[in-house]
Subunit: 166 residues, 2 copies
């Protein structure tokens, strides 16, 4: 029953969109100055996390066979290196834009993807391994990236003034 | 194709188990003393977050029609009231246990649940609303609670010594 399958897939896809929306709303609330702060003493800055999320989401394009990275330079700065490295970071306004660009491009693909496509292998797993481990598919990448963005959303929330139980 | 449906559902259920495992591992690493610290200045303590997660997961039992809450007293302390309220909290060792108890009980049910059961309505939505909004089902509760625990995992990670990009 194709309809019920795609209904189940849509729950996961909507959870992704929900998390993107939450981060978007939080970034609208936080000033560039707030984003420059560390989320906790000695930990990552908000700006680093925005760049990190933009880099990870940009990298989902090739991982899901949806195209090339739009900002390949982000990987070195925001995935391979920590916040406190001497590498110069792009301006906060650019990072906000890269975050939006990656998600907008992903969304264009996601809204058209069929269940068959979601269950295809992602590009970081070989054909041989995929036969034995069919759960290493595109939908699973989406779910694990949803969890990943939720991890960092919880952290960025700490940049808001006042208590945060959310 | 029942098999493919349950395969897709299993991706979401496994994501839940993955998050529980990560928090379990983190709690094994963190001492009671570390848990007493605030995740960031003026924000929730680790202990509060453990109690909060235990309370939310315990409340999933009635929400998913799986039974009654085992620790109904947690709601008042860890959901209705913030960390800095004067209400006395249970000992950290007990909260660690309540966290485990809630998840162990949920797991016993989750491993047996069929796709049909996952797509049933949860108890916080009426029959009438569920007809119009069939996505308000048990699987969606699971997905949103997976995101919720990921939010707080990201925060509790800050209690570890050293940087944390993860």
């Amino acid at each position: 029953m194709q309809n019920r399958e795609s209904f189940i897939v849509k729950l996961a896809v909507d959870a992704w969109f929900g998390q993107i929306k939450r981060v978007d709303n939080l970034l609208d609330e936080l000033s560039d100055e707030q984003l420059l702060q560390e989320i906790a003493p000695g930990k990552n800055s908000g700006v680093y996390l925005v760049g990190h999320l933009a880099a990870i989401h940009d990298a989902m394009l090739p991982l899901l066979s949806l195209g090339q990275k739009m900002r390949p330079e982000l990987e070195e700065i925001f995935i391979n290196n920590p916040d406190k490295s001497p590498i110069k970071k792009p301006a906060t306004s650019l990072l906000r834009q890269y975050w939006k660009d990656a998600n907008t491009t992903l969304e264009k693909h996601f809204i058209k993807m069929t269940t068959d496509e979601w269950l295809q292998k992602h590009t970081a797993v070989s054909e041989e391994d995929f036969i034995k481990q069919p759960h290493r598919n595109k939908l699973n990448v989406l779910i694990s990236r949803t969890v990943h963005v939720a991890n960092h959303y919880g952290q960025m929330l700490l940049l808001k003034k006042g208590g945060a139980q959310e």
